[in-house]
């Protein structure tokens, strides 16, 4: 089965007053339809940058240096601006962080939904448009009456579900959700995540969930990709990531997570993440790594695929130790 999304060697830099920063260095991954991928990393690790790069929404001083983003056979980077405009929302949809707070406060929900698909010149009558939007609302478990409401009449969870509804209007192949539940309480969070799950199965899309909450990943995704300082460190199935993480960063991350068994045990990762303006030589994680070797300080490890299907970027597994 051909993956519905293939990212090959995506590179993004930011040109700032203090120098050139590599926000994303050669990221490569793929997802299949109806699969859920979690993109995990701390702030500044490059996850939002990757999403924006895939959507071709990187603005100066940022620049996508190279790479391919192939959705359903089409390389998005080779499209003209006009074609990319059409591709957004119809092939690949993005729900940005804080989307629910970005709904236009003076427009009704229904008008905003229609507004979102205006640019796509769909040949539907007004009535069918409306019906289509209402069905989208129903699929996220909202009443049809929401169509005529204003954003301030809805709760946080409901607003977020409206954003999900907007993203599925044109049945895209890939939906990217950037921290969709960060401002919501646990109960609403679960509701929203279960909605995304249902909606995904309904339209057969692939979902990329960006976040830093490993717990949420464990509950929701099929595959996890860990980013650190702009590089992919490990890409594994969720089961393997939580039971047997290979990359030292991933291992440290998993063991620092609080769960029901390890009450009172705090295992944090010593040191702090480097600024992407001045990255350490070799592997960016080497200054904080418990298993650091000489080669780690000089050579950047490539992402290699292991026997069990997962990929790791670490010299412990690159055969260069």
């Amino acid at each position: 089965m051909e993956p519905v999304l293939k990212v090959i060697d995506l590179q993004v830099s930011y040109y700032t007053d203090a120098g050139r920063a590599t926000a994303l260095a050669g990221a490569t991954l793929s997802i299949n339809a109806v699969e859920k991928l979690g993109l995990v990393g701390e702030s500044g690790s490059g996850k939002s940058t990757m999403a924006l790069a895939m959507m071709r929404m990187i603005k100066p001083p940022g620049r996508v240096e190279s790479g391919q983003v192939i959705v359903d056979g089409t390389d998005l980077r080779k499209l003209t601006d006009e074609e990319m405009l059409k591709a957004r929302l119809s092939k690949i949809a993005y729900i940005p962080q804080g989307a629910m707070n970005s709904l236009n406060p003076v427009m009704r929900i229904g008008d905003q939904m229609v507004d979102a698909i205006q640019a796509h010149a769909i040949n539907l009558s007004q009535k069918d448009f409306k019906e289509h939007c209402m069905q989208a609302l129903e699929s996220v478990d909202l009443k049809r009456s929401v169509f005529r409401m204003y954003p301030h009449e809805l709760s946080g969870g409901m607003k977020q579900r409206v954003c999900i509804a907007i993203s599925i209007l044109l049945k895209p192949k890939v939906i990217i959700c950037d921290e969709p539940t960060s401002a919501l309480d646990v109960v609403t969070q679960r509701q929203v995540m279960e909605t995304i799950d249902r909606v995904q199965k309904f339209i057969g899309a692939a979902v990329i969930l960006i976040g830093h909450d490993m717990g949420l990943m464990a509950q929701f995704v099929d595959k996890v990709a860990v980013l650190y300082a702009g590089r992919l460190m490990e890409v594994s199935s969720v089961r393997l990531m939580f039971t047997d993480p290979k990359h030292p960063y991933a291992r440290a991350l998993i063991s620092s997570l609080p769960n029901l068994e390890n009450k009172g045990v705090f295992q944090s990762i010593p040191g702090i993440a480097p600024s992407i303006l001045r990255l350490p030589s070799g592997c960016p994680f080497h200054p904080r790594c418990a298993y650091v070797m000489e080669v780690c300080k000089t050579e950047i490890p490539e992402l290699v695929t292991l026997d069990d299907g997962r990929s790791v970027a670490c010299h412990l597994f690159s055969g260069r130790a």
Binding site: D17, A18, S268, P270, G271, I272, P274, S275, L277, R278, L279, P280, P287, R288
Partner: protein, 299 residues
């Protein structure tokens, strides 16, 4: 808990002066405005130190002479040497502007702070007064007051007073709304938790953040004061003996300078006025951008 002694990669922050210059390069109105004001100030200061001030007053030099080497701007009907007259005029305009502008801004800042910080009936009273006084046409009131004063009582300082009377309300309301929003910020709560009293919060926590607004208000107030003194003088309501720029224009016009082809008489003050007001307006626009946090902060 251990801290790893990692050799932190040094992110070299550009120095503050460099950042300032880069900002000025981007904010053209501010830079050009500042440059013009600097030039005007240099001209005035140099002038004040080198001229004979007595020549700025009537009957000091031969009258109605066109510009020459001895009298670079010529002389007027009353026997004033127009070059020293211009210099003294600029100096006096600056005085009125800064005095009236400064006092107006000070009143505005104090009232704005008190109103916003302490709230309650005091706030309603101050806000109410501002809202009532704002729609009153200041120009009209100024003309009436200046016109009804005895000619001998009109000095630079009375002019400044007349101007200040109806110019403080805008600043008050702007500062008030800024303080209102700022006093709810969490760094104010934390300062209180650290033992800071109300006065400390006002002067140490809130005031420094309002400096761009206060600066912008000050420049606006100076602009208003200079402009007001100019139009009042042009109407002949200023201290007539002083070589105020507006006065010169009024005198030139009332003596029919253009009919008599004394073209050099009103030209100096007119150009000077355009430059002063223009530079102040440019600085104001530039500061507006600085004060709007959304636009700046690209460090």
């Amino acid at each position: 808990m251990t801290t790893l002694a990692i050799p932190q990669p040094e992110v070299i922050q550009p120095g503050r002066l460099t950042l300032l210059f880069r900002y000025l390069r981007r904010n053209k109105s501010l830079s050009i405005g500042l440059l013009l004001i600097l030039l005007l100030t240099a001209f005035t200061v140099f002038g004040m130190l080198t001229i004979d001030k007595k020549h700025a007053y009537p009957l000091s030099v031969p009258a109605k002479l066109p510009p020459s080497a001895q009298y670079p701007l010529g002389t007027d009907f009353f026997g004033r040497d127009l070059y020293p007259a211009m210099v003294v005029g600029l100096w006096q305009t600056a005085l009125i502007g800064v005095l009236a502008g400064g006092v107006g801004t000070l009143i505005g800042v104090v009232l704005g702070f008190i109103s916003a910080y302490f709230g309650g009936p005091l706030d309603s009273a101050i806000k109410g007064i501002c809202q009532i006084l704002t729609p009153i046409p200041a120009f009209l009131i100024q003309v009436i007051i200046a016109g009804s004063l005895d000619k001998r009582d009109v000095t630079i300082y009375t002019m400044a007073f007349i101007v200040v009377l109806l110019s403080w309300m805008g600043t008050t309301l702007v500062i008030r709304s800024q303080v209102l929003s700022m006093k709810e910020r969490q760094f104010v709560s934390v300062a209180k938790l650290s033992g800071m009293g109300d006065l400390g919060v006002i002067f140490i926590e809130i005031m420094p953040n309002l400096l761009p607004f206060i600066a912008a208000s000050f420049v606006g107030a100076v602009f208003g004061a200079v402009f007001a003194s100019f139009y009042l003088a042009v109407l002949g309501l200023g201290p007539l003996r002083e070589p105020l720029l507006g006065n010169t224009i009024w005198a030139a016009q009332s003596q029919g300078a253009f009919f008599n082809s004394w073209w050099w008489w009103p030209i100096g003050p007119a150009v000077a006025m355009v430059l002063i007001l223009g530079s102040l307006a440019l600085i104001n626009m530039g500061l507006d951008e600085l004060a709007n946090p959304r636009i700046r902060r690209t460090e």
